[in-house]
Symmetry: C2
Subunit: 799 residues, 2 copies
């Protein structure tokens, strides 16, 4: 069966140009192989000896020659049309290729002067690769020109689109490997074209690089016919172009001709949209390229009688025992010499002038494009005064007012959109939940972006909205990452349970930030801000499948410098937190807050003080005035736990007035850790002043209770911490019943307090009986009437 | 623009049949609306009053009528051809529809006799929905006939394929909503057709149900043209059929005609393959259906002047204030009466006979199909004796032998495959890593399954392999879930870091198991077994992006009944663990073990005893003979930490012979928890006997150190636990350097031990200096030579 359909070879390149671009490609390939193998003798001035070979051969050759091939041809297009372009390298294994190309451009030596453009620099370039104290084997933050670490596959295309939004002059070339093409996130990412506005945004040029194999298997798309691929990508809304073959000269001609065509197509789409000539009801058919080239192209054809080039055996190190086996070393030497290094580098080891001329200059070099070091381009976000959006809380009537806190944040975000409208550098992301999460005020000043048809009865859809909604957390996260990494700002609101869908993307972004912070030349980017709402305690329409507060457990595993977790209990604290997070950089901030009406506790001034401290005693809620120490500390973190704690305290104070109660609220979870573990951690002294050193602490926590233990186990009073939280009980039921099922409700909290104060259970036996019977009464009532008892629904803090 | 292309209406149904099927559909719709709204008056014997309406209206109408429509037509096909079919309902929000249909079939009342087929039963059916003490709003384990909870979207189609593998007579009808169709996992799942063998496996019939809207937005595919969708699904390798419209009579005819066609097509594909008439080089083009029907079909057209039917406003509860607002209640009553309940149910509230006849009988009912309660069909897995695969460890020369432990497990798994070959009920899943993870022995008896072209030089690919490899953890996990839920067994090996990609799928499966265990009628299914290998400590080719041991932290949040975590330190313990996990049911077992050569510690007999206890003192490694208590406890969990601990103990015993050291190894992490928190938890007495109540414990742990604190904070000696683990430091470097970067290496462990034993640091000041200088020496050596010092590489336990 004929799988591929070649085009008649258009002669896009004159013979001289072809020879030059082929030499440039060979130079990149030579440097790539050198990085994988050589400790010394970088220019092969002498025959290869065992001691020139690294003791441990680590890295991935298979994908690299194809990546280098694309790079050389993109350089040609940049020079030809003065393009502003970056290269997103999905097959991140191909680290040697990206390093090689940025070295050829000169930018690598500018960033790392120790790796100079001479023989000694080349020796160091080779040696450092996958070497202790050197650089990792993958494209990484250390690689100039990259916004994308390729370790975990699936996110290249969504990063590329994120980079292109609001960058009308930018072209993002994005290579997707055929391994990566099997992942879910990529499979959905192709639909990002429905969200890219050619008038306002830049262009993404996806290049699906089919080399046919993964680690030890063929790939789905590698074995698919051209016709199936043509249909698939046409169905996704693209215009596919094919470049297929293995003969370098032919492939250079095909690639050059195809690039000429697709860049003309991109320009035509943009011109039409920007000059108002485009059919406003048609999402443009952007070009994409399918490039079929052999895995391990130009490498050894066979090793030990086994097929290597064009097969998965070239995935990592095609010929492995080059130190110990003379025949293997000979294969390597022949392979490297096949690129003819004398034809590429001068006596000093510097790329020859006529080849240097093939790279673009200055910031046009893809390794030096400032979009790939987004902090360079980041403009400060303008934010409104949070006081303008404050809820007016009367200190004499706390908890009386019921407000949807996220609605207040929505008004604040509306103003952020307005203030930065001109800069076009702020977007809101979410899986179809902006309105549902009560952030709908933003639609007073913007819309959801939508490039497919818009019907007359549609609501808040437009071609230039700044709210991005798609039912894929992967796309929301990836777009936002790409947007931030290129110097902009954003905000992601998501159902709490389903943020787990992007756990691994969060991990990778946290890793990127951790390493970036260690590189002085990488300038800080805006923080990635999550609002997790529709949380575990208020899944009224859904139930158990929507109940999981564990994302923050994962977050707490990451480097303290990088992560923050906030649990604001009401609107004013949420406003402070949201505002604070938007002003930070190089972090991941997680805010957990409900969208349902809830009691409002603090004035704005109090909220500011409370949030700045991260934790505090709510004196107005306790009754320890004059006591040396309280009998019990009632602590809480999270909006629902705070309400239940205050309801428990209200009961305790009424029913056992002699009991001295302290109420502590935690907004910034990291304050619980010790100061040496986290920059926000309280000193032990401060912690002891708040939680005492010997009194029982009943801690009502929003999520899995273990996290509080993990954060506080070093504290003096930890043995007296009794934490309640979500214990995986739940279903579709009433809000209060959810807390009862997980024993986080006011009655359980009050009962636990009584049981933990020495001697109190006996003295207050009547209260214990009464509280237990209340639980019974609740149980009967809710099952009979399907709603919470009026006294629960109507409870308000006495003020 | 014309979006849809109608086919000429074939008259597949005679007039009488059409009227019947329409009435059946109306019955399901009536029951669906009743569940969302009514507390009482289920048959509308009297005008609707406020008190008949639920106080809290929860649920999702929008998707439900379409689901009911499909159900009715699938019933017709089952009866017509005696099909063995299950229904996977991707839009799990449509819970009322699945409940309604299984009630109409009679199976609901068989499973839940209290919900009888009469007026009182119907009243209870309505009342229990989304009601405290009742059933959740989504399709859930409580729903007969379901293997799929629809809360988190994206997994319907992988579950369907998982169910179809090795079930040649089964047809899995799988409805994918257009919201779900935007997710990554679904977008990749369409490629599952490349892994389904028509000769050996059953069929999956995907029905893409486009009702056009998500919560508050149109959907990508809902707004795509038929032509784009035709190309897209053709490109995925399917033959798409379209059913488009809103007029019920027309739609019934279209659906019936289309089903007649597609089921004939399925049968033809299967016949050709099974009779050897199919082109073996062609992956068959299975049919799939695109059904476009209005969201909220047959519901209120408008409410309060706003468009509802055919728009996102019908997503949840189309008319909301039916208790308080007479006009709204009137809309509801008119809507329900539009289905004409008297025409559907008899005086007793039972479905009329002529309609009952439309449902299949007995186990052919989709709600009663045993495949959807897989435990009914589960056959015990045959397993070999683990002793046959034991590594021969000489107790006099422990740690001398270096073995790749996962390779031993691979041989065991090979035998499992052989022993169960005839039953065709065991498969191995992994993202292209079976060989890389050293499980390659399985390829002696089976292959990877592959339905695209196979080239002559391909290795271990075939049409009927039992190893499923695709570069998508989502597909591996989802296929395995579907396979297990329908009563089979499986094993998933994955790179440790990238299992986070399926965190949320793990969550949902754990939730499914938790609820299933509470339902007596749901029979136990085989456990979901993970082998996490290529772990954090041995990412030689990769580096930081591949280093994350945090999956187990997430696992530990789940219900203790459901989860187990094992860290076998060598091959024999790995064999016991793997064997044990394969014999368990209704659990999720996580095994973490490296694939690199590592020292072997225990004989098989010792391994059995050690693993059965889950934790134990390694007396041969310590030197406390005769002492009342050791000076220090060196504890370890995980293969690399075990090796580093023993190397530290080796040094301590040589250099400070007077120091009494105890070595404790933990295989079963849950043993650390207290017995009341986890069934595997040690009693406090046993824990104290092992860890003492007052001696320092230096705990070398495989993952993030906090987990050990979280598991042990209640223990008497917890204050003396000093845990070392992964602290997010790493890159591409040597294996030993990785442990040094994270301060988990032998030198740091020995130094910590010395520092924690009172007075020892002063006495052993020379040793401290020596160990510190060793660290310096390592640092210099590794950066100069690129490999670990010979004394590190060559270290062996003295035996």
């Amino acid at each position: 069966m004929e799988k591929t359909s070649k085009k008649p070879g258009a002669q896009a390149l004159a013979a001289g140009e072809l020879a030059l671009i082929d030499r440039y490609w060979r130079a990149a390939n030579y440097l790539s192989v050198g990085q994988i193998y050589l400790l010394d003798n970088p220019l092969l001035r002498e025959p290869l000896k065992a001691e020139h070979i690294k003791p441990r051969l680590l890295g991935h050759w298979g994908t690299t020659p194809g990546l280098n091939f694309i790079y050389a041809h993109l350089n040609r297009m940049i020079r030809k049309s003065d393009l502003d372009m970056i290269y997103v390298c999905g097959p991140g294994h191909g680290g040697p290729g990206m390093v090689a190309n940025t070295y050829l451009e000169g930018i690598y030596s500018e960033v790392y002067p120790d790796i100079a453009e001479n023989e000694e620099g080349m020796r160091k370039l080779f040696r450092q690769f996958s070497f202790p104290g050197g650089i990792p084997s993958h494209v990484a933050p250390e690689t100039p020109g990259s916004i994308h670490e390729g370790g975990e596959l699936g996110y290249a295309l969504v990063h590329a689109y994120g980079a292109a939004f609001d960058n009308p002059d930018l072209v993002v070339a994005c290579v997707v490997g055929d391994g990566e093409a099997e992942t879910g996130p990529i499979a959905a990412s192709w639909h990002s074209n429905k969200f890219l506005n050619p008038a306002r945004d830049g262009a993404v040029l996806p290049i699906l690089h089919l080399n046919g194999y993964k680690i030890a298997n063929p790939t789905i798309m590698g074995r698919a016919s051209d016709e199936d691929l043509r249909q698939l990508f046409s169905g996704y809304g693209y215009e596919p172009f094919f470049v297929v073959g293995h003969d370098p000269a032919d492939m250079h001609q095909q690639m050059a001709a195809t690039f000429d065509q697709v860049f003309a197509r991109i320009r035509a789409i943009q011109d039409a949209a920007r000059q108002g000539r485009a059919d406003p009801d048609r999402c443009p058919r952007w070009p994409m390229i399918v490039l079929r080239s052999p895995k391990g192209w130009t490498g050894p054809k066979e090793v030990d009688g086994k097929k290597v080039e064009g097969f998965w055996r070239s995935h990592q190190v095609p010929v492995s025992n080059c130190r110990g086996d003379d025949a293997h070393r000979k294969i390597l030497e022949d392979w490297m010499r096949s690129y003819d290094p004398e034809d590429l580098f001068d006596r000093d080891g510097r790329l020859k002038e006529e080849l240097r001329a093939l790279a673009p200059a200055g910031k046009r070099r893809m390794g030096a494009n400032p979009h790939a070091n987004g902090g360079l381009l980041r403009r400060k976000l303008a934010v409104p005064e949070i006081a303008n959006h404050a809820v007016a809380v009367d200190p004499a009537a706390r908890g009386q007012l019921m407000v949807q806190s996220t609605e207040m944040l929505g008004r604040y975000l509306r103003d952020v959109l307005t203030l930065n409208a001109e800069n076009r550098n702020f977007r809101i992301f979410g899986p179809d939940e902006t309105e549902s999460n009560r952030l709908g005020s933003v639609f007073e000043v913007t819309n959801r972006v939508w490039m497919e048809e818009i019907e007359p009865y549609d609501v808040h859809l437009s071609r230039d909205g700044r709210v991005m909604e798609v039912l894929s957390e992967h796309l929301c996260q990836g777009w936002l990452e790409g947007y931030l990494l290129t110097g902009r700002h954003g905000f992601f609101s998501c159902y709490e349970a389903f943020i787990h869908i992007v756990d691994s993307m969060f991990n990778q972004h946290a890793k990127w930030l951790k390493v970036s912070r260690e590189l002085e030349w990488r300038k800080p980017i805006a923080s990635l801000n999550y609002l997790l709402t529709s949380h575990v305690w208020r899944q009224d329409h859904n139930g158990f499948s929507h109940q999981d507060p564990g994302f923050v457990d994962l977050v707490a595993n990451k480097k303290a410098d990088v992560v923050r977790i906030y649990l604001p209990p009401d609107a004013n604290t949420l406003l402070w937190t949201g505002d604070h997070c938007l002003k930070t950089y190089n972090r991941i901030n997680v805010i957990v807050a409900g969208k349902q009406p809830e009691p409002q506790w603090l004035t704005m001034d109090e909220a500011v003080r409370h949030c700045e401290a991260g934790i505090g005693i709510w004196e107005w809620a306790g009754n320890e005035e004059g006591a040396v120490a309280p009998d019990v500390v009632m602590a809480c973190a999270g909006d629902v736990p705070t309400m239940e704690t205050l309801a428990a305290v209200d009961m305790l104070r009424q029913k056992i007035p002699a009991l001295k109660v302290r109420v502590v609220n935690v907004v910034d979870l990291m304050a619980l850790q010790s100061a040496e573990q986290h920059p926000h951690g309280l000193s032990d002294d401060a912690f002891n002043r708040i939680f005492t050193t010997d009194r029982p602490v009943i801690f009502a926590y929003h999520g899995y209770p273990y996290l509080i233990h993990r954060l506080t186990y070093r504290r003096t009073n930890h043995g007296n911490f009794h934490v309640r939280g979500f214990i995986e009980e739940g279903t579709t039921t009433t809000p209060f019943d959810m807390t009862v099922l997980n024993e986080l409700d006011r009655f359980h909290l009050a009962l636990e307090a009584i049981s933990r104060v020495p001697g109190l259970a006996e003295k207050a036996a009547g209260v214990v009986t009464e509280l237990r019977s209340k639980l019974e009464e609740h149980h009967r009532y809710v099952r009979e009437f399907g709603e919470d008892m009026p006294e629960i629904q109507g409870w308000r803090w006495p003020g």
